[in-house]
């Protein structure tokens, strides 16, 4: 196994939390260093636009 993976188990954690903030809170409570990423899904097309696009592409 590589040093990179071994380091994960040996070092202090710094966690990127991408998504549900409840997990951010849970890590904070344990005094784990955590960074909350501001993630939002990309824009979604309504059904009509999807149909039009699928016809022309």
């Amino acid at each position: 196994m590589t040093n990179r993976s071994k380091k994960l188990l040996d070092s202090d954690l710094t966690v990127l939390n991408i998504g549900m903030s409840i997990f951010y809170d849970a890590l904070k409570v344990q005094n784990v260093k955590v960074i909350q990423i501001d993630w939002k899904p990309g824009p979604t097309l309504d059904k009509l636009s999807e149909e039009i696009l699928s016809k022309i592409m």
Binding site: M1, D10, V15, L16, Q30, Q36
Partner: protein, 572 residues
């Protein structure tokens, strides 16, 4: 801001905001806060998925307004004591959603806004990131995972609904780049004693767990904690990893990694029975290269004739004799006892498992007490699980004990598929964490709404004898899992009593005394409500089987097959 369509109902209002996305947890928090406004009787802010629309209809909101919503729309459903309160509340919600403050009383998110950062800038500026916890909708996972692998960042992917082809590509690329991928579908991990995702406050110690079953990892780690045995690492690899298509890629990586950890004595592998090739790979690793003692917990491995791929299984018990360093288990409880046995042998000392063990006579007493008031027409059990591994384990035990007919929305055997997951039939084991209940909603370990409705509904059927409930404490879970449904449990029992029936409710609380929800307090409230609480899910399943079987269960055989035989709670 989306377009709103108000309803005309005098005391109810349903608004549909088109193409308006909010995370299910944000909406849950907002709903809970608005329910606390004076005069508001019900407030449900949800995305317009089929499950959410069904729930709103069950809550009594008008179907004609709800039906219009698409899954990309947000529904705001309110019920108040009068029109004035309804009219006053809507602008407050709109203001909160717009983020303009106004009379805002809550933040949509616990993390302060300045702590929410842009991914690109964080990757460019923070150099010591070692793991990412990803819980975004499944279709967005692949791009994100590849980007993070390129940055050399290990990942725990909680997201479900990631296509298996994507999972395979992600994992192959990760192996090539020496990155660990836990998941997709991995809700739980423990790294160096820190819980990531749904996890419990366990003491660090000489055990490591590799799990393809999230609640399985929580059950094994908490039960070991009750026995005074610590868990340093618990790596959840996701339920698909042991399937032939993924080939146990991350299970193998995790085993190799943990074998190099000097402070680990025992490695416990927890999974539904893997595909034949993956099982062989795991056994070969342990027997030929492994440096530790191992417990291989293939839940139902000795009981079901088929494994995770539907292949016929070899008897895993035969493997036990190959090497004393490997013990094979078929339930989470027997897995913990096997781990404790390894630890007792390593330490050359006696070890008590009393905190998690129920002697046969005690279990029989519970069963007899519960069933003495149950009428002949009460024949069936209904299990409403928030933990998927518990739903699976209970099916293994009930099938093994000959409880028929048995159905589930996540069946062990295809023929036992429950036709309508929203409606139980005869003996039904419901996994409330399955897709049909979670699309656009928070997981049932966080949001109790569906289970609350279901507890009362099940109690209304004359032929139901037993409800089985799990309560999962710990990081990430609801702040009070027992408190959030205790009124419904009492109501269910009262409804049955008014109909001159005794409704038995059997519970198991998965947690430790250091979990923030209060383990002992949870137990006390259940017991005060007349609910026997068993220390493990396997004991709860055997007890429930005993109650509906009305005397036809051979408890000694059940213990021998699913618990393991020990001498008065002592292991040496």
């Amino acid at each position: 801001m989306g377009r709103s369509i108000p309803s005309v109902d005098t005391h109810q209002n349903v608004l549909v905001k088109h193409n308006y996305y909010r995370d299910s947890l944000e909406l849950l928090r907002l709903s809970d806060e608005i329910k606390r406004y004076p005069g508001i009787m019900e407030a449900s802010l949800v995305m317009g998925t089929k499950t959410n629309k069904d729930i709103l209809i069950k809550l009594g909101f008008p179907i004609n307004q709800i039906a219009k919503a698409e899954s990309s729309d947000m529904i705001i459903a309110l019920r108040a004591k009068d029109d004035g309160l309804l009219l006053a509340t809507v602008p407050k919600i709109e203001a909160i959603l717009r983020g303009t403050g106004g009379e805002r009383t809550i933040e949509l998110d616990h993390s302060s806004p300045d702590e929410r950062q842009d991914l690109e800038s964080v990757l460019g500026s923070v150099k010591d990131i070692n793991i990412a916890l990803i819980s975004v909708p499944g279709e967005y996972v692949k791009d994100l995972a590849f980007k993070l692998i390129d940055e050399g960042i290990h990942q725990q992917i909680f997201s479900d609904h990631v296509p298996m082809d994507d999972e395979l590509q992600i994992k192959r690329y990760a192996v090539k780049n020496h990155v660990l991928i836990l998941g997709p579908g991995a809700g739980t991990s423990i790294i160096n004693g820190n819980g990531i995702g749904f996890s419990n406050a366990v003491t660090a110690g000489p055990v490591a767990i590799v799990a393809a079953a999230g609640t399985g990892l929580q059950e094994v780690s908490t039960l070991l904690d009750h026995c005074g045995i610590g868990v340093r690492h618990g790596l959840g690899v996701g339920g698909n990893d042991p399937k032939a298509k993924i080939g146990g890629l991350m299970m193998s990586e995790a085993l190799k990694l943990l074998d190099e950890c000097e402070d680990i004595d025992v490695i416990n592998i927890v999974s539904k029975p893997p595909s034949a090739s993956v099982q062989q790979k795991i056994i070969d690793h342990a027997t030929k290269h492994g440096k530790k003692k191992y417990v291989m917990t293939f839940i139902g491995g000795n009981e079901s004739s088929k494994n995770i791929e539907g292949e016929k299984t070899r008897s895993a018990k035969r493997l036990t004799n190959q090497s004393k360093k490997i013990i094979i288990s078929n339930t989470l409880t027997s897995s913990v006892l096997a781990t404790a046995k390894h630890i007792a042998n390593i330490n050359r000392s006696e070890l008590s498992v009393d905190p998690i063990y129920v002697p046969i006579e005690d279990l029989k007493r519970i069963v007899m007490t519960e069933r003495k008031n149950i009428k002949n027409e009460q024949k069936y059990l209904r299990a409403l699980y928030t933990g998927g591994t518990f739903a699976y384990e209970t099916q293994v035990i009930l099938n093994g004990l000959g409880i028929r007919p048995l159905y589930s929305n996540a069946p062990l055997i295809k023929a036992q598929l429950l036709q309508d997951p929203m409606r139980s039939f005869k003996n039904s084991i419901i996994d409330l964490g399955e897709e049909e209940f979670t699309k656009g909603r928070a997981h049932p370990m966080i949001d109790p709404t569906i289970r609350k409705l279901r507890i009362v509904e099940e109690a209304s059927y004359d032929d139901v004898a037993v409800l089985v409930l799990d309560f999962v404490l710990g990081y990430g879970s609801n702040s009070d899992p027992v408190g959030s449904v205790i009124d419904e449990i009492k109501k269910a029992k009262l409804m049955a009593a008014k109909a001159k029936r005794h409704l038995s409710v059997i519970a198991h609380v998965c947690g430790t005394r250091r979990d923030q929800q209060g383990y002992d307090r949870s137990l006390t409230r259940l017991k005060d409500a007349g609910v026997p609480v068993l220390p493990t899910n396997a004991f709860a399943a055997i007890a429930a089987a005993g109650i509906i079987a009305k005397g036809d269960i051979d408890f000694r055989e059940a213990y021998s097959r699913f618990i393991g035989e020990i001498q008065r709670g002592k292991l040496t």
